[in-house]
Every structure is written in C-alpha cells, then in structure tokens.
Subunit: 757 residues, 2 copies
C-alpha cells in the first residue's frame, strides 16, 4: 500500500523519507567483503528487461485483483508458474484471513439539499481498464465498523491530534457528529480512529485537491493528478496496534488457529466510514456552517472552509459489509544456499491491489519478477548462492499487511533462526532512489547505489540523489534534512530513513526483529494522483509514472545487487558504526524534544497565568487558551545515553577489527562470527513490547501511534514524551538502553571472534 | 492607500509591521517630560465620539470621491467648514496635479474562446452605495501607459524579482507577451514595472482568492472577503523613484511650476495595465498552457496554474486615458502655539478614495476630525498648546501621495525650519495597535499606548499587543519577530516598525527628513477584502471592519495624546537610545545579509561546478540552473559600525544627562536644547540621495526598490548588497556612517547644553 507521500512528484512536493547516496568509488564496508564479482552482477543485469515487466504488468493489472477476486488468485498462480519455470522451488501458501467487502455503501447529503453521493468511479476513454470495473469493489475502506447514521458534519482537517486540539480551542466537537477529514498528513486509519475516540458516530475521508489533485498538477487524464471523481480506498484496520489479520494477532491465520471474534479484535473500528472524491466532498464542505476553519485546515477547493457543527449540513452514511474469511495466496519461492542454506535472504513485494493495482503494487512486483527471472538464468549458468534466497509475492497487503504478517507469524521461529535480512519493495516509479531500513545496512545500500546508473542523467543513482539533496536545499524545496545535506556535501554515505509502516516489512522488522530494507524509486511519478483508485492502471503507470518501466529495471538491478552481495558474502556486509551513529542522532533528537517540550510548557504556563490567549483572541472569532498541562520533567535519559556511548565504542572497535582481520578468518571463526551477527538485530526487541501495543517489540523502530506511516525511532521514549507519559519515558529509556547494551555486547563478542579470542 | 497587508485579518494572516507596547506603568522617557496632565487628556477623551465619526463617515463616503470628483471637493469644503467651526485657522490649499482618468478600458480573451472581461463592479443589495457608481471610475490603475495590445499571456505570480528568476529557470519569458500577475507580495506598481523591464507589452493584475478572497474568509456580503467580481484599483506611478505629481519631482505643483512632459516623467509606465477580478482572471488562467507553475505561484483558484507562453490564451488589452491636470484640495488647519509657535506638530490623514473610500481613507480621516473637534473644545476652555498644531486632510493620496507630497515640496523650507514631527494615519479598523516611525519616538508611543484602553479586552492597547505577540509566537502564527517577542516577554517597550511607503508620511520622512510616525489599529477588520473597490463602503466598514467605529475613537485618543504630549512638553519626549539600539539592530541585519549572501554564493558556485541542478531536475519538467553571479565580497562596513558605536554612546550619555538634569534647565538653555534637537532627524539625510532615486534622501529609512510598501532600513547599504552593487554598498556604508556620526555629534552638543557647558 506504500504511503502516497512517497509516490508524489518531488519537483513540486518534496519527500520526507530519507534517501541514500555515497561515492561511486566507495570501497566495501568495514565489515563487508568487496562487492560480489562484477561479472556476476553484469550477467544479472543483462537479464533484466523492461519489456518483460511491461508484459507482466499489463496482464496482472488487466482485471480487479483485490483479495478474494478471481484475478488475484490467477495472478498468484501465474507467478507460481513463472518462478517454477525459472528454476525456483516455489509454492503457494494460503491463509484464511478476515477481509470484509461491502454489500452496500451509501452516502447522501440530507440537508440543506438532498444529494446522493459516492458510488463507483466512472470509466474514462483514455484509461482502458477503467471500463472493466465489473467485479471491482466500490470505494470503501476495509475494517471500518458497519453502521447507518445520520448527523451533522464537522470538518476535522487531516483528523490528527493537532487538528483536534485546534477544534477544541475553537469550541467545535465531533461528539455525535460525522467527521469529515481530508486524506494526508498521516495514515488514513488514524482519521476515523481519532474521530471515534472523540465521539464521532461516522467518518468520511476525501481527497482534497490541495494534496493530490489539481493543485499538484493537471488532473488525469490530462495529467497524472487525481480527477474530481477519483477516490482513495484503503484499510483503516488499526495498524498502530498490530497489523495482519485482526482475528489472529501474533499467530498465523492457518486452519485451526484460535481466532478472536470480530468484537474482540481491537483493530476493527466501531463506526462506519467511507471515502469520497473531492467532487462529492466539495458539495458537503460548501454547505457547512460554523466557524471559519483555521489556515492549516484550508484545502484547495474554491470555498471558504468552515468547521461545521451547527446543524446546517447533514449527512446519511451507511455501510454494510460481508465479513467472511477470504483466502490470501502468498507465493513463496526459494533458491537453496549452496554452503549456508540456513542463512536466508528474504525479498518480497505484494501482488494484491485495490482495483487494478498497476502502480501499487504491481510496478514493484514486476521488478521483483525480473530479478527472479535473472537469478533463474544465473542458476542455469551453474551459479549457486552461498545463502538461501527466498522471494515472496504477498497477497492481502492492502487490507493491512495480512499476507506477509500471517506468514511471518506462522514461520516466526524459522525466520528468527535463519533470516539475515528482509528486503521489501512496493509500487515504484520514475525518479530518485529512496531507501529506509536497518542502519547496519546503510553502507551496503550506498555502495550498491553507487554502481547503478540513473537512466535520465547517466550518473549513479546515488550521485544523482546527492545532487538532488544539495540542489533542493539551495532552492529551499521541501524540508531540508541536515544529516542528509551534510553527507551529500561531504560525499559521505547518505543516511537511509527509518521504517515506520505502510508496507510488508513491518512484521519482519518490528515484530520478529529481523533487519530490513525497503527500497524504491519515485518522486518524478504522479502515482499519488490515482493512489488506490480505479485509475491506478497500466495506462497511468506507463504514461505518468514510469513510461517504459525504465525505473522498473533500475529497481530490479538495485535489489538484485543487494541480494547477490549478501547472498555470496563470506560475512554479510553490515557496518555497525552507521547504526551506532544513527541511534546517537536519534538520542539527540529525543533530548531536544524533551527540552523543547519543557520550554514550550513553561511558555504556555506563563501565558495562561497572564491570560494572554484571551487578550490576544478576536472576540468575534474566539479561540480559547490551550489546555493547561503538567510541565515536562527532566527524563532519566542517562541509562540510554550510556548505552549509546557504549554502542558507539563497540561498533567502532568491531568495524576496525573486521577491516583489519576479517578477510583472513578461519572457516570455524567465520562460522562463529556469522552466527553471532546473523540475529544481532533481534536483540533490539523487548518481549514487553511498546506501551499499549505489545505486538510491536522493536525498541528502535516503530510506526508512530499518531503518524502511522511515519517512523518513530526510540519509540518507547520519544512517544512517551510526546504523549506526556513521563513514567513510560523513564522506563523505556532504561529498557532501550538495555537492548542497545546487549547489541554492543554482541559486537564485543563478535570482535573477540575476529581477533581470535 | 495604506498597504492591504496591514488591513487584513490577523487571526488568519499575521501582520509583519511591528507594533508597540510598553508597561502601562512606564515612566516618561529619559528626555521627555512626565505625561501631559492627565486632566487635559481626560478632557480631550471626553470629546471623542464614535457617533460623530459615524455621521461624518456616512456623509463623506456617500458618493465617489476620487480626485477631481464633485464629492471630493465637497468633502474638502465640508472639512474646512468643520475646522473653522471648531476654532481652527483653516484654509484649502489647491495643487494642479497630473491625474489620468480612463476614457476607455477594454480587456477580452480572444483565444481560445472570445470572452469580454472587465468593467465596473456590480451593485449588491447588501451594500447601499454600490448602486451609486454613476460618476465613479471603472476599475483601472493610475499612471499606466495607454496602449492597445493583443498577445499571449504569461503568469508571473506576484510579478516580483524572485518570480522572474523562477520563470527564467523554467524557460518562460514575458518578452512580447502580456504578463498576468496577482496582487500581493509587494507593492502593486512593481508588477507592471518589472513586467515592462522584462519586455512585456501589457500587464493584467488580479486579486487571487488565496490572498484576499474566499481562502481568507467568506466573501462579501456573506463575510468581508473579496467577492469574485471585486477589483482592486490603485496607482502604479513608480513611487520607488519618487512619489507625488510625476511632472513636478522635488517641487510643488503650483501655478507656474516648471513641469516635465509626460514622456519625461520617469514614474509613468509605458505599457497598458488593467486590474481585474478573480472571476475574470480565472477564465484566463484556466485557458493557459505552458509548464505547470511552481508551488509558490499557486493561488486558490480551482485550477492547475500554468505559466503560459505557448500561445493558447491570447488577450486583447486596451486603455485610453484623459491626462489633464486635476485640482487636489488639501485642507490645512492650525492652532498656533502659545509659547513656541515656530515649533510645529503636523498630523494628517487623506480624504480622497478610489470610489467611496469608506475604509481607506475615511475611517482614519474621521478619527482625525474627532481629534480636531476635541482640540477645538479644549481651546474653548482656555487651553493653548505651547507648540503650533497643524492638522491636514490631504487630497490625491491614492494616485501616489500627490496632495501631501506637493504640499511638503512647496513648504519644504518652512517645514524643515519648524516641524518637530509628522504624524500620519490612514484607514483604521478593529484590532491591535500598529505603529511605525522614527525610533526616537518609540518610547513616547509605548508610553501613550500604555494609557489607552482596548475596548474589547479592557486592558491597555499595549498590554493587549504584548499578549498578542506572545500568544501568536506560542501558537506559531505569522512570522515571529524576535526583538518584539523578547520585548513583550520582558515587559519592555515594544519596537515600532520602520516606515517604507504607502501613505502620506513618505515626503516628510524620506525627502525632508522630518521625524514621523504612522499609527493605526487593525488586524481584526476585513478591509483587505474590499480594498480599493466599490465595496469599500460605509456598510462594509460598519459591518466588517469597525462596527460602531469603536476603534475610530481609540485611534483619536491615541493620536490625541501623542499630539498633546509633544505640543505641551518643555522639550519633546524623544529617547535617543531607542534610535541607537534600533540602528545597531539594523546593522546586525545587514552584516548577516552580507554573510548569508556570501555563503549562498559559495553554495551556488559549488553546485554549478558539479552540474548539480541539471542532475536534480526532472527531465520531463526541466528547471535550469540559477545564473552564475559574482561572489558577494566582504563589505567595508567598518565606518558604519564605528558610527553606530559612537551613536550608542552619545545617545546613552545624552539620555542619562537629560534624565538627571533636564527638568531644571534655565529657559535659555531649554531654548538652545530644543533648537538643537528639533531638526536632529534631518541630519539623517544625504543630499546625494539613494542610488538611482535621489528624491529619497534619508539614509536610514526608505521604501524598498523591490518591496515598495515594505521599508528597507540602512537602504543605501542593504539594497546595494541585495542588488549586487558592491561599490555602492561600500560607499553608502561610509555615507550612512557620516550621517549617524553627525547625529551623534548633535547629541553630544545637546548633552553639553544640558550639562551647562
């Protein structure tokens, strides 16, 4: 499902996800071997074909392929056949997952003017498959709560916590009302979840043209941006609590699994929710009364946005779903490792879409198929990887990472015992390299990116990325990331971003503790304009997102080189100093967060005491003072800070030792070293998990409780400060320090092996 | 004409002009006497009546009152009669000024679809005078160049230098085209001036709903914001070169004055220009082709903004004007000083409008009339001011400060010899106090503001202002001004802003060198939505801007107290340390400007050398690299820095000496002291004037060449750095140092008098 912020056009809207780059001349990492033989990579690259990808994409996106649809199953079976034809050991693993589909959806304005809204998106002549919606689901969101409600509307902007703070200060409440939120600003599911928590009885989500419509570019089909009748579908299952089948948290949704009832499942909403187009939403918003919405609530519709709540605009919203279990078909394919068969590299993309899914996910899925075909071709030359390569094409990602999560939970023990890394992709497009993941792999990603040629500029994709970061900073485009800019200027490795959620890496990284990477190209595509709509089609992808699937081939080569280098390395090329430096940066951020919060608390307290907010407010447009809050105390960060210092030392010592002596290890020492390092990232888990959501066990990386897609690093501490759970902040500073300390101890142990102790 | 940025709603759009506040308990300034007797101010306040103001406003705004209209003359005559009735020595002084009025205006789209646009704004039932447009001028801009052109359109955003830089990088030129610019971002006249300089053959200016329309609030008459058919008129005479009658720069437009020809007048444009509504502009912009406009160009119309230039949208634009001289009727009224008749306090507001002018300027003009009536009433009690009080109601401010400039130029010698200060107001509204001016008066303004009660909150207007600055900073509303915030937090005097241009103070401050203040209330009004349109009416003012003219009365009291305290002081209450500290702050800004420019130049050079802009650009949406520019050198700021240091010392020494001994001066010493200080601000002039615009002689305060309304302080140096005239920067650092040094010398002389030397 990959977040739309990553899929829009960077020339107009900068990406916040961090990217990577490094000198094309960089040598391999301190703990890595020199790059896999260039000849092998060249042979691999020679097999990558955009023409292949175009053919597969056209076929796989020719009919609706949502979970449970005939074409979804057909795609899985065709994929299985391909893997087998290419020499892989492949099978389909099926899970029975809860997946509600709508029986009926209804949305109509009942006052001031009765207008029927909603329904399927219309066909347009320039988009061939848009006429093939027989069998497609209408616009809806999965895992809302069925219901039939009629109420006054309240406009809640993006529907995130800051928006509710603003509404409260303006005296507007969603209690007993239907909240209307616009897409963007954070993960979709937070909007109805927070509306529900604030007492709303229903929720409507629409795509404002400010965010992915005409304000961003010409509307499809003239351009790639969202047309007035385009609707974003999606899941609203509460992934910030846990992803996967809502009925089987923590275990696989296999026959005989102990399932929760729907009522017990914490991730299913209680209120009805529907998504609509801005063509429809404009009619509602124009009819609303109440205070004029504050600046930040303003979208690009040609109206004065009002908050509503005064009873003028009333809506009838009704959703009824069919709640049976549906089959999710995961295609799993392996090439067994020749010498280290119990060390696995897992690499995957999902294959289910919301309608035709050409961009999301199939543009990434066909790049993966190219890699699989190329690896198959290498097999035919007699090559065998040292480690086992596992490729997977997940089903049921869109409803909430169901296919990957159920597989991860089912195979937890084996994955924890064998996996070296999980590598993910999702929709892909024209533009710049983007990469997020576990920072011990940061240098490898940079190293590989230095050897991949950007087809538009003929420099390496990381040299292009470095130029982009510097030029954007000069031109003040987007939020400038200081660490990335400094690295780009110095010619150092560029930082990779941290993983939040929004695609299939989540279970592997955040529940099992495997190290993970998520990689894709984009920023020059316009996929954001058709994201999760009928128009995410072969025609859109090939006209607006990646003509000729040129960047599909670039993605295949990028991932292929990463896979090959890890698969054939004597010891996987991790660099722990990068991880330590990154965690140190996160600690600095958390420190600053606490300090800034404390300063802000002091300011607020002083202003409240003076009555300054009352004096400042316009009595004809009243805004009340912010709530009084307890001062943010000094957090007991010392245990965490000490652990970070220890980690930095241990990592530097290990990296130095490996650089000096790593090439000459005895086979026995090598085996001990690889065993010590293979599961080192799993040490970052705490069995206690994060507060209120113990499925999430990784104490370094998590999706934000109030961002969803966006990562929160050192989440136990950071979110506790943000949410004023100060005892939790103290506790998790200690717990996080402990896992980092264990990680450092493991590095010391590894260094001992390298140094022959 | 007062800039619209000052007239819009701060609850949604923060004001950049700085404001003032000080502790209500603050004692009088170091060099000032204690406040004028409270009893006198109370007697004055008792005479101030909002009901009076409502009656005058209704009458004065009942018919079109632009220069040359019958009602404009009637307003001047009625004002004269009032002054006389109130006991003032009053007369009308008439100037014959060039003032073009349209004979015909035409604007039509000729391709892709013929549509006739433009014409007078329609009557609306909720606005009584909007039906009285017989005799009103149609929407136009004064001092454009007549012409009849047909050409392709290019959208230039705000039409300011940064916009042309962006256009150049996107490969779009206005050469031979008609530029269409939106209002805002800087002074109106810069838009056609820069279009002309870049080769455009015509210019259209429209009001985008993002800036003063539905994006800011409900449209008039539902709310106060600009309706789709509202048009902003205005002058485009090049005030950044000189204001006043274009034919008589530097001299009064009196009978027999040596006049330039129209062709010789540098401030008259050469290309035809018309303003239009967004209802009209939307039709043009929707038809345009060319590259998609960058983010910053995007307004709030429901379209994708394109830059044009590809020949799709063609416009026919024709303007023909009647260019005769018209009479400007300045009403001048005096109360002679009892003991110091040759020390003048000049206080004024203009009375001409673009149509009915109820908000701009009459809301301020009727506040001034209230003061005049109250001062007249004091006269009847036997009170006589020590100094002469001169009140003026200017005509012909709207075409470009004609009435005030011609008067100032005509009476230059007398004003330089007698004026202590020039105090200006213009349109006024509900909200917060705003003040700009000469910083030696900063403390007086703060002191007075501490004694004026805000009617909405019942605290002093400066306590409210202080609260507003702090609350806005906490809520991150608007650009935070560090100096103002620090002062607000500390309870110190708040800084007043610097004067640029946009109202009648310009000649007095920037050409004659008198010290000046400009004061008004606003920020909670919605006058920006009808600025310079037919709907700037009594109905709009009393419904949306200042119901009951409550803030009209507050303005009268504020100005009245300032006038009384200066008029009756033994020595006028200036505080020179405030001026010195402010200039020191400006020097810091200029230093930082040069350093920042140098750093940016270095970055650009490095990126150009690497070809980074080419690598970063999306080849399907190309943006070229910025122009190479010479590096900003180190500027010879030392002479200026030394003078500022000297000024700080001299000012502190004088203020301290006066605080200690000022109350006990002998009459002779007092007379010498007053003579030494009365014209001290005139020492800030340089006869050489500013580069390329020698009418502007003040080396501390000027309107920006590329901002117009916005002030540039230390303009000779600052603008030279900005515009890469580095030799000028060195030269003006020296010249500015010299005038500040002379100012410091004068303070030393004054201290000598105070200390009995």
């Amino acid at each position: 499902m990959i977040e739309p912020a990553r899929r829009t056009m960077i020339r107009r809207m900068a990406r916040s996800a961090l990217m990577l780059a490094a000198s094309a001349l960089a040598v391999a990492g301190a703990s890595g071997k020199p790059a896999a033989p260039a000849a092998l990579e060249a042979a691999f690259d020679a097999q990558i074909s955009s023409a292949d990808q175009l053919g597969w994409l056209k076929d796989m996106s020719s009919a609706p392929n949502h979970v449970g649809s005939p074409h979804d199953k057909a795609n899985a079976e065709a994929t299985l056949a391909k893997f087998r034809a290419w020499g892989w050991d492949a099978h389909i693993e099926t899970f029975d997952v809860l997946y509600p589909t709508p029986i009926s959806t209804l949305i109509e304005m009942v006052a001031p003017t009765p207008i029927r809204l909603g329904g399927q998106e219309p066909a347009i002549p320039e988009d061939a498959t848009s006429a093939n919606t027989a069998g497609a689901l209408p616009p809806y969101v999965a895992f809302q709560g069925d219901g039939d409600v009629t109420a006054d509307l309240v406009y809640v902007n993006y529907g995130l916590p800051a928006d509710y703070d603003a509404l409260e200060r303006m005296g507007v409440s969603v209690k007993g009302k239907i909240a209307i939120a616009r897409y963007g600003g954070g993960w979709r599911g937070l909007k109805p979840k927070l509306a529900q928590e604030h007492g709303a009885i229903g929720c409507i989500i629409y795509s404002d043209p400010a965010d992915d419509g005409y304000a961003q570019g010409d509307s499809y089909p003239k351009g790639g941006a969202r047309p007035p009748f385009g609707v974003q579908r999606g899941s609203v299952a509460d992934m910030t609590t846990y992803p996967g089948d809502p009925l089987t948290p923590g275990i696989g949704a296999v026959p005989g699994a102990k399932r929760l009832t729907r009522a017990e499942a914490k991730t299913i909403l209680k209120i009805p929710v529907l998504p609509i187009s801005y063509g429809d939403a404009g009619k509602l918003l124009a009819a609303m009364d109440g205070p004029i919405a504050p600046d930040k609530f303003r979208g690009a519709l040609p109206i004065t946005y009002h908050l509503g709540g005064g009873g003028t605009a009333k809506v009838h919203l009704a959703v009824k779903s069919e709640w049976s279990l549906k089959p999710a078909y995961d295609v799993i394919a392996k090439i067994p490792g020749s010498t280290l068969p119990d060390e696995w590299i897992v690499r995957a993309n999902h294959h289910d879409g919301w309608v035709f899914g050409a961009g999301d996910p199939l543009s990434g899925n066909v790049a993966m198929l190219s890699e699989a075909k190329a690896l198959g071709a290498l097999l035919k030359t007699g090559w065998r990887p040292k480690r086992t390569i596992v490729y997977a094409s997940w089903d049921a990602e869109e409803p909430m990472l169901l296919g990957s999560t159920e597989w991860a939970e089912t195979h937890e023990a084996e994955l924890k015992a064998k996996a070296v890394i999980y590598i993910n992709t999702d929709g892909n497009g024209r533009g710049l390299l983007g990469a997020e993941g576990s920072h011990d792999w940061q240098h490898l990603v940079n190293d590989v990116a230095g050897g991949i040629t950007d087809p538009e500029t003929k420099v390496s994709v990381l040299d292009r990325k470095r130029a982009k970061i510097r030029a954007d900073a000069y031109d003040k485009i987007g939020r400038s990331d200081e660490a990335a800019l400094k690295a780009a200027e110095a010619g150092d490795d560029l930082p990779i971003g941290a993983l939040g959620s929004g695609s299939d890496y989540s279970s592997f990284l955040q529940h099992l503790g495997l190290s993970a990477l998520n990689i894709g190209y984009g920023g020059e595509d316009e996929s954001g304009g058709v994201y999760h709509s009928v128009y995410d089609s072969f025609d859109h992808v090939t006209k607006w997102d990646d003509p000729g699937l040129v960047y599909g081939a670039v993605l295949s080569k990028t991932i292929g080189h990463i896979v090959l280098r890890i698969a054939d390395a004597d010891t996987p090329p991790q660099r722990f100093g990068d991880f330590a430096a990154t965690v140190a940066r996160y600690l600095d951020e958390v420190r600053k967060l606490a300090d800034d919060r404390r300063a802000e608390d002091g300011k607020r307290e002083a202003l409240l005491k003076k009555g300054a907010f009352g004096l400042a407010a316009d009595p004809l447009h009243p805004i009340s003072a912010p709530r009084a809050e307890a001062m943010t105390p000094f957090i007991e960060l010392a245990p965490l800070a000490n652990a970070v210092e220890k980690l930095k030392k241990s990592a530097a010592a290990y990296d130095t030792a490996y650089a000096a002596k790593g090439a000459a290890l005895s086979p026995a020492a090598r085996a001990r070293l690889n065993a010590a390092l293979r599961d080192i990232d799993q040490l970052l888990l705490s069995e206690r998990g994060l507060p209120g959501r113990d499925w999430y066990k990784n104490l370094i990386y998590a999706p934000g409780r109030f961002t969803g897609y966006g990562a929160k690093t050192l989440p136990g501490v950071r979110e506790a400060i943000e949410e004023r759970r100060f005892a939790d902040a103290d506790l998790y500073a200690k717990l996080t320090g402990e896992v980092l300390s264990a990680y450092a101890d493991r590095l010391d142990q590894a260094r001992g092996i390298v140094e022959g102790r």
